[in-house]
Symmetry: C2
Subunit: 557 residues, 2 copies
Amino acid sequence: MSHTENKLSVFALGGVGEIGKNMYAIQYADDIVVIDCGSKFPDESLLGIDLIIPDITYLIENSQKVRALIITHGHEDHIGGLPYILKQLNMPVYATRLTLGLIEGKLKEAGLLADTERILITSDSKLTLGSITATFFKTNHSIPDCLGVVFHTPEGNVVHTGDFKFDLTPVNEQYPDLHRMAEIGRNGVLALLSESTNAERPGFTPSERIVGEHIMEAFIKAKQRVFLSTFASNVHRLQQVVDAAHLTNRKLALLGRSMVNVVKIASELGYLTIPEGMLVEAGEVNRMAPERIAVLCTGSQGEPMAALSRLASNSYRQVDIMAGDTVIMAASPIPGNERNVSRTIDNLLRLGAKVIYGSGSVTGMHVSGHASQEELKLMLTLMKPTYFIPIHGEFRMLHHHGLLAEAVGVEPGNIFILNNGDVVDIEQGAARQTRKVIAGNTLVDGWGIGDVGNIVLRDRKHLSEDGILVVVITLSKTEGRILSGPDIISRGFVYVRESEGLLDEAGRIVADTITKLQTENVNQWSSLKISVKETLGRFLYEKTGRRPVILPIIMEI
Amino acid sequence: MSHTENKLSVFALGGVGEIGKNMYAIQYADDIVVIDCGSKFPDESLLGIDLIIPDITYLIENSQKVRALIITHGHEDHIGGLPYILKQLNMPVYATRLTLGLIEGKLKEAGLLADTERILITSDSKLTLGSITATFFKTNHSIPDCLGVVFHTPEGNVVHTGDFKFDLTPVNEQYPDLHRMAEIGRNGVLALLSESTNAERPGFTPSERIVGEHIMEAFIKAKQRVFLSTFASNVHRLQQVVDAAHLTNRKLALLGRSMVNVVKIASELGYLTIPEGMLVEAGEVNRMAPERIAVLCTGSQGEPMAALSRLASNSYRQVDIMAGDTVIMAASPIPGNERNVSRTIDNLLRLGAKVIYGSGSVTGMHVSGHASQEELKLMLTLMKPTYFIPIHGEFRMLHHHGLLAEAVGVEPGNIFILNNGDVVDIEQGAARQTRKVIAGNTLVDGWGIGDVGNIVLRDRKHLSEDGILVVVITLSKTEGRILSGPDIISRGFVYVRESEGLLDEAGRIVADTITKLQTENVNQWSSLKISVKETLGRFLYEKTGRRPVILPIIMEI
């Protein structure tokens, strides 16, 4: 798609119509600035797929125009695509200190650190990116060091909020910069892109402080050890756990790779303050007096290999949960993880632990990091945009965010609910959405980026449901008779030892089919294969009600 | 397990430590009475499995002692196992009128109707089942005609609540019989088995009437057609939809097989009153004035093939959703169904429908059919049991129900949190839980009941993740050289046309491996196969990061 006119274009390569894999682009004439580079996890229909990242065909085709990749914050749905995307297209990466710290860990693992230009920014930075100038404003969210971005273009200013809430009593002084937001609004916002995760949720998201108070209460009440599991990246919450442990005179152990990793980076960069000598090794936990130790661990989503799940199933090598210990689940289950979280809680209760879970007012061990409806209206009111593009969310979230925008006075015709790839073009003050760029899911499987397509996935689905039956037969090229076989091998269909009769009968049916066709002088492999598949498929369905993949292998010698 | 002593035993064959597949048993001396015969759906780890039912080995081994199968109500988690279980063991089935109506439909489909003795009971029935006498009491729940059961035994009385709530303003006069419950309690309850689905939920579950009021409001407000999707078995709710349609002068169409089926049975049996001439065929909907028609449909869980999902994706043949139509989702997503429900809502919104969803106070289109904590305490207080066995629920629900029982005065030592198969024996007034009977999951796959085991499931899992590679090679028995192949066939691993290079290289590696081994005079098939698997597996992992199932087929001619 050529794009040389002097117009402003805004589009998503990921993040609208879905949760995760955020990637947006602002283009003015020959300058493209990309915002965020997220990944998301596949749902259960994408069998064997490890990760989904945005399809960046458009950026690759316009690589000489891409001026910058700006990252708003360090969550996986904003940085998780970097190790794969940067292999496809090298871009200079702009981010704040903590965000860069987290990114650098990823790039190192992927062997991309040396080749990637990384530029540290703050909320006071001003970047000249061709015809686009970028400035920033502080927001707060469930990870420190988040930014919103203002793109100053000849056509007008475009604001991208990143993820945010308005926590007016934040931990560690991470205030949202209301005054700068007001100033941005006063100077005129042509288009606002604002996050929609909680657009269906009425009210105002509670402050992270509330969680701190509940954590403190639980620590004070606990007579034995306290285990707390949360997202490692929620550094504010980690700080509150550190504070509660300190106040109740407990040492702190860290379990889980990402917990150890984030605590290290956040402490080194000054986002997390841990008293000298407070941290102890996992191996110490079982040896310490139960009222003198607390444990911060991964696994709040019930991930089977994470620390908490292993503790719950009594298979963590160095640490045991004892009856009477307190376990705090300081996170809500992300949709799709409910079963794993429930299993973890059940296992902990079976061990006799007191488990505090649920985000209700009763336990209050979790608050969202995202703006609820009143905060979304606050952002819209501060920015007073002419055009509004809700981002970060599935369709119904974007739809509800659109209704909120209408409610605070944005013209209904100026609200664009986009699909990934839909382009909003703004020229001489007028916006239209008529064209598309390529956008979609790139599937990551093992080392492969984008090499697994629909045929492979369909086969996996079919294999997963009823397994496979391989039928091997060798024919004599000269005489046309069966030299060996049919041998039948089953995987995932029936257990051979218990189904010998069935498989023997299947073998006879194959032999009969082939002999009969050869008597009729049908010798093409393709006809033989189709007949074997059909006859055998019908027989197996009648006998078992299942339709395994049937793979006839006919060899001629 | 022999069991001839005069003692009372209570156990679950399904339904504790899980949601679904309810089946309980009461045994006194040589008399066994079974309660309920449910099924449940497999989670995503049980690939290809259609349904899970209880393992009834114990009942089969003691078939001459089984006196009755009593069904408390007509939900799938209480009757869904019947078509499979009755094939394994023929038992006389006792149930109320609506429940029998629903059961008979199932038995007919399974060809079991003629051979199954069915006995109609009411809340006033009294059954003599060997040494056990059963009487009943009315409860209410999200389906009409529910019963709790009292088992009168020489050792004392055991009460099984079935599913219940205390809806004191029920639809269609389906009151819970508080007075009889009080009488049962006054006469002495040795052991109470009470359902635990909502044991984590504080308060008192709202009345179904509330939903009726909200449905009525939505019908009055709607300017075009109204679609409402709910569980077909929620006859009370169907009645309220009928009433709202009648009051707003709308005809009613039914979409979805189970909706049509339940409405037919419930109307015939007098549980649902539909005004003469109100029902119209699906084909009429598009032809009628939008304000004169309402539609009741299946698909409230976002099931891909159900009516609402097909309406939402614009693929229902006879009916279209028009912009401005109102769609009411009168159900909460069951855990595991969230993604499908969200997708359905998104699709409906894209069509321009007004979608009312969510069970919060804002929309109020759904209330639970299960007792919350205050109602569970009410039941415990009415029954005043000596021993308490919480049933119907995952471990944490049973655990919380146990805490509620303690709170209302049951001795902590008299509360038994069971696993399926754990037996509580009560003899001379004293209860002990020391022994087990066989219990577990029987997997239904196609026509097969219990023939898919761990090996087959493990294979399906492996196949689903990285697919399969079949390597076929023919060797000469006499000369030991390769006569044909290696031929490599891939399913679900990589797409062959795009990976020819990889597969060619794989073929060379296999040929080299075999040639090398034969030079070394290694000729056993097993050694050849293991070498091919190892060498090829290593090569493929290095190249792709994936570990497909490798199936070497070596034929000697």
